[in-house]
């Protein structure tokens, strides 16, 4: 190994490591790092999220070299990138579709956590840091979408910033503060550009904390049972490095299909129309990854106890993410993995269908049956976390857990021993 060898390279590495133990850290956290031997492919999505974050930052920094954050020039500067800048179209499409990929990966990563109980002791903070990352991603993506200054950029910004006017007493003052003017305009665009550039680096810092928290107790695994000894683990390198590389190749194929052949499939054509403050588009729809939250926001169509429906809708929308913070305590089950929780498993899939339904509702104008479906789906969402989680945890009879990971993988003979 580099640190223990006798060659000149090893001596240089030892000189550095004695002063700044970088190589030793990489060896410990990436090479030797003990990882459960039974991880399935749903565990690939963490490293994929890290990689797509890097891709977004690199492509974003290059785009920022050509983009102009001024309301009169923003749209044209993006068109210049698409037409005149060398490979500008490629980098723009990578950034645009990369955002969708980032959310897809993170949502799968999140649902993996829900299924296998990765949020439970001792990984509560790990989970909560993940929710913080999700919130930061949502803020970053929202502001990023405003930057091309198309019709959806402008009107999506108008609708979402107007939400804050629902806050009692100070609402409209807050909105004026956010806008820097009397409507969404150039001051808004400039500050969104500044913050859009900043937040990804905040995300990097929180990802760092997320990884430190992860390495404190190691990864969860599909069985949800703790590692009992070295026979339950394998070193991260080469097993999971090569598996992650394979997963990365598969993901890149999926990503490339969008970038090269369907670059505008996930987007809204109306955002190719320059922003017109005097003309509202017939339908204002956010990007697909915000649709479920948009549906929850619009689900409140009536006032309750004198509280305006708009305010309740805003509170419900934020609550739908805030509730995730409390999952480790809402879930009363002593068993982590849904593999051994037959009742919980059904509810998990119901949640998946519920979120997809909310997405469908969010994509359509709020008329007729869509409204009712949206209200039912919103009700189920909160029922799932606030009522089902505590109840099922207490009432369910889980299946018997295997004695150890090694026993489950290798057979009972290997339960206690080493290789």
């Amino acid at each position: 190994m580099p640190v223990t060898g006798t060659g000149r390279t090893s001596r240089i590495i030892r000189w550095i490591d004695h002063r700044l133990p970088f190589v030793a850290m990489v060896e410990h956290e990436l090479y030797e790092y003990p990882t459960p031997r039974n991880l399935n492919y749903w565990w690939n999505f963490g490293s994929l999220a890290g990689i797509i974050l890097v891709i977004m930052i690199v492509s974003g920094i290059v785009l920022a070299m050509y983009y102009t954050p001024n309301a009169t020039m923003a749209f044209d500067s993006v068109e210049r990138i698409m037409r005149d800048v060398n490979y500008g179209w490629l980098i723009r499409y990578i950034h645009m579709n990369g955002a969708s990929m980032f959310f897809m990966i993170v949502y799968i990563h999140l649902f993996r956590g829900l299924y296998y109980g990765s949020y439970k002791y001792p990984r509560e903070l790990l989970w909560m840091l993940g929710v913080v990352i999700l919130l930061l991603m949502m803020a970053t993506a929202f502001m990023g979408y405003v930057l091309p200054w198309g019709q959806m950029s402008f009107w999506g910004a108008t609708v979402i910033t107007n939400l804050f006017s629902a806050i009692p007493v100070f609402g409209s003052k807050i909105v004026t503060l956010l806008w820097g003017g009397f409507t969404v305009g150039n001051p808004t665009l400039n500050r969104f550009f500044s913050l859009h550039y900043l937040l990804p680096f905040v995300i990097v810092a929180v990802v760092g904390l997320h990884l430190i928290a992860l390495h404190t107790h190691g990864s969860n695994n599909p069985l949800g049972i703790d590692s009992k000894g070295p026979q339950d683990s394998i070193p991260f390198h080469p097993y999971y490095t090569v598996k992650d590389m394979f997963g990365l190749m598969v993901f890149l194929i999926f990503f490339s299909i969008f970038v090269f052949y369907l670059p505008n499939f996930l987007g809204d054509p109306q955002n190719y129309i320059p922003a017109n403050p005097l003309q509202t588009p017939p339908d204002i729809v956010p990007e697909w990854y915000f649709l479920p939250f948009y549906a929850i926001l619009r689900s409140m169509t009536f006032n309750v106890l004198g509280i305006p429906s708009k305010l309740i809708g805003v509170m419900l929308m934020f609550s739908s993410i805030i509730v995730l913070f409390f999952l480790p305590w809402l879930d009363t089950s002593r068993v982590r993995s849904a593999m051994f929780r037959p009742v919980y498993r059904w509810f998990f899939w119901l949640l998946v269908i519920d979120v997809l339904t909310l997405g469908y509702v969010g994509a359509h104008p709020p008329q007729g049956m869509i409204v009712v479906i949206g209200q039912c789906a919103t009700a189920y969402y909160f029922f799932h976390f606030l009522i089902m989680f505590p109840l099922v945890g207490k009432l369910e009879r889980p299946r018997p857990l295997p004695t150890s990971i090694g026993a489950a993988v290798l057979g009972p003979a290997a339960a206690g021993g080493g290789n």
Binding site: M82, R83, N221, P222, F260, P269, L291, H364
Partner: protein
Amino acid sequence: MKRFAFAVVTAALVLGAVDIARAQEAETPKPPHQQWSFEGVFGTYDQAALQRGFQVYKEVCSACHPVKHLYFRDLTEIGYSEDQVKGIAAQYQVQDGPNDQGDMYQRPAKPSDPIPGPFANDQAARAAENGALPPDLSLIVKERDGGPDYVYAILNGFKDPPADFKMQPNMHYNEYFPGHQIAMPPPLTADGQVQYADGTKSTIPQMAHDVTTFLAWASEPNLDERHRMGAKVILFLVIAAGVFYAAKRRVWADLHGHGGGGHGQAATQAGEDD
């Protein structure tokens, strides 16, 4: 895995819903699908059609519609030589200045200039067009749901309104325009309206097809390069995925009790998904 498959199907519905959400109102028919040389994985622009389409734009559409994101130099991409482009540009006058006296002046356009539009600004356009603003066409194919099919349908969709349909003044009935009333009068009125330089017969559908191809190129000039690069990248990635999968299998075969392809009941219970 059945539940997973079910969820995937629902996901597909959502993706479809995302598409439907942006569709036009129920009464306006969906534009019929046309054959385009640039659609599909191996699609490219037909250069002859692009040049004919540019001719239609120049002789018919440019009277009202600008294409501000196109530069004369871009025309070399559709098959014109540098000298031909200089010649086309020189036919236009553009504003330059101020000169040393402080005055703005007119001069012939150069290839580095954007193609000038017919009106100085939006207000001048509206004044000339009964209050309607002819949109810039540089991105029209990407701006509209249905893309080239929609643009083609509009150009071919002018007809007499049904007996009970009330038309507003200065509007024209179009089958595919949302609301059926469009401010633009039919631009393609007769076969042979444009005499094609390459001799192709210029029927209305032909002109509509060619100008739509040109406008598709105007919206997305890099499509040819994008498709070519995509084929190479995806081919490389498929091979790389194969190699990395083989490497993964080989590395993991080392683990005692975890043979090459066998999955005992124990392994399945472990949740492994090789």
